[in-house]
Symmetry: C2
């Protein structure tokens, strides 16, 4: 666990209520990867993370006979999820249901004790007003659709025992429900994160994805203008619904040294001056990393630490 | 469902908070049998019953390595049980864990919607003050120990796959914890029910058990003095701790016709005058019944209907 984070946070009275972060997004939008880096950086002993897919009302077998997919709110115990979020937000433990993605079955529930930071990722954590009210910071992951498709095929064929064709058929089946129930959560997020290649650029295929962070004025963001440059720039824009937002463009195509220099500068701006950024940020797998992901996680880390203060 | 109970209760506003009854007692004390008759009499569509054994923290396999038995509060999610009781008492659904007594394993949880009447039976429903505060009426089942032993051997060998010897060894292992954790709940019950042969009488072995109901002044009991006679009598006594109680003695040895006449008289006193007592009371199994059990259930029914008014 990074020592300096402990120091940043040492004034926080113990026994205070936990800080809750929501990471909403469609299947394979990158929720687990984003969460893992935050947990590694904060220290696993200060965090608990949970996935709202565990609140599925029906198992895979039962869903076969139903007119909707797992994305539909009626396919989930949304009210029990709300109840558990409220309990966790007020520092109480819950007995969380468990959905096993490998077998598609509902299993023995597990006890979740709230910790200093509670990270809640899943399909529908921002679906209801009562659920949204439980969070200190809310994120919606909105990668370019062709990127998400390739991530979903890769994961579901490797880890969940599906064939590529099955995954694509299932994605087609889910499209209408994704538009109806998952995507509308985007408007409620403090930060919308989009990983995508930059349109119009003809980068080689190995070029890391860029990230676009829509920073809504619903929470107070750190002043990143000073760190703007070739790797990252901030732009005042309007969201598709006309609301004003700051959009932070983090370019994946710049050389790694430049990104790393930017990470240091940002950590200096938002973290403890002089301290190094914590480990674990930007990790995509055993030997892959993304600097735009690291910067995204750094900004989220800032919000979590701010909320804890 | 008995029509007259609907009528008795029709003035109750719908959407009001549920009435909660606790039935606490050691393993095989008769909790399920008592509950079944109440549910049959009230109508299954107005009731939900649940068992707090479902809040076991460890499965049978895990308990083998532990220094306590399933009776110990540390072997149960007592705080989650409290949480769920509070939620049900305020009309909210819960996702209740499930312990499968047949396999000794924890399974997929099930959704419990509160109903007009919520009957909560189990080993530890009255263990904590917060749990007790959720109930309108509380019962402790305290059968004579030799009776409970015979019930436990019969049930666990027939339904739970144990041998008689295993059951007796387990009962021995549980004795100290039963005294430390289960029995103390007796002092918190509004009604303590004891099924036993009458001491000093040499009744033939087939004689039905008598019941002794300790009626604590913690709730307002119906005036049963008018129904006293050979079958049943009320006696002002002191509990073992010196507190004053009314004790209702219901004799199992009297001819069935007399018990049935008494049931009618009691129903006249506490139910709707002129209406017949509901079906399902006193049932011990497919072709066995107990009139003292029927009268006990009738008195509990009275309290439930009173609390609902």
């Amino acid at each position: 666990m990074p020592e300096k984070l402990v120091r940043i946070n040492r004034e926080r009275p113990t026994g205070g209520r936990p800080v809750l972060l929501a990471i909403a997004g469609d299947s394979a939008a990158g929720k687990t990867t984003l969460t893992a880096g935050l947990v590694a950086a904060l220290g696993p002993d200060r965090c608990v993370s949970l996935c709202t897919d565990d609140y599925h009302r029906y198992d895979r077998e039962e869903r076969r006979g139903l007119p909707f997919t797992a994305l539909h709110p009626d396919c989930n115990h949304v009210d029990i999820m709300e109840q558990h979020l409220q309990l966790l937000a007020t520092g109480q433990p819950v007995l969380k249901p468990v959905y096993d993605h490998a077998t598609g079955r509902l299993a023995r529930p597990e006890r979740v004790e709230p910790n200093e930071f509670v990270i809640v990722e899943g399909l529908l954590p921002l679906h209801t007003k009562l659920a949204r009210a439980c969070f200190d910071v809310t994120v919606y992951l909105d990668p370019a659709e062709e990127i998400r498709r390739s991530w979903k095929v890769a994961r579901d064929t490797r880890k969940r025992g599906y064939t590529e064709e099955q995954v694509l058929v299932e994605m087609g089946r889910r499209e209408a429900e994704s538009a109806a129930w998952i995507h509308p959560q985007r408007q409620h997020a403090d930060i919308v994160v989009r990983f995508a290649p930059i349109p119009g650029r003809n980068d080689p295929p190995e070029t890391p994805l860029s990230a676009e962070l829509m920073l809504r004025p619903s929470i107070r963001h750190p002043d990143l203008a000073a760190a703007s440059g070739r790797t990252m720039h901030l732009k005042l824009e309007r969201d598709c619904d006309g609301r004003p937002v700051d959009t932070l463009h983090i370019h994946g195509y710049v050389p790694r040294e430049e990104s790393v220099a930017l990470e240091k500068a940002i950590w200096h701006l938002i973290g403890e001056p002089g301290g190094a950024a914590p480990d674990g940020l930007g990790r995509l797998g055993p030997d892959a990393r993304s600097e735009p992901l690291a910067i995204t996680q750094m900004i989220l880390l800032h919000h979590l630490l701010e909320a804890a203060r």
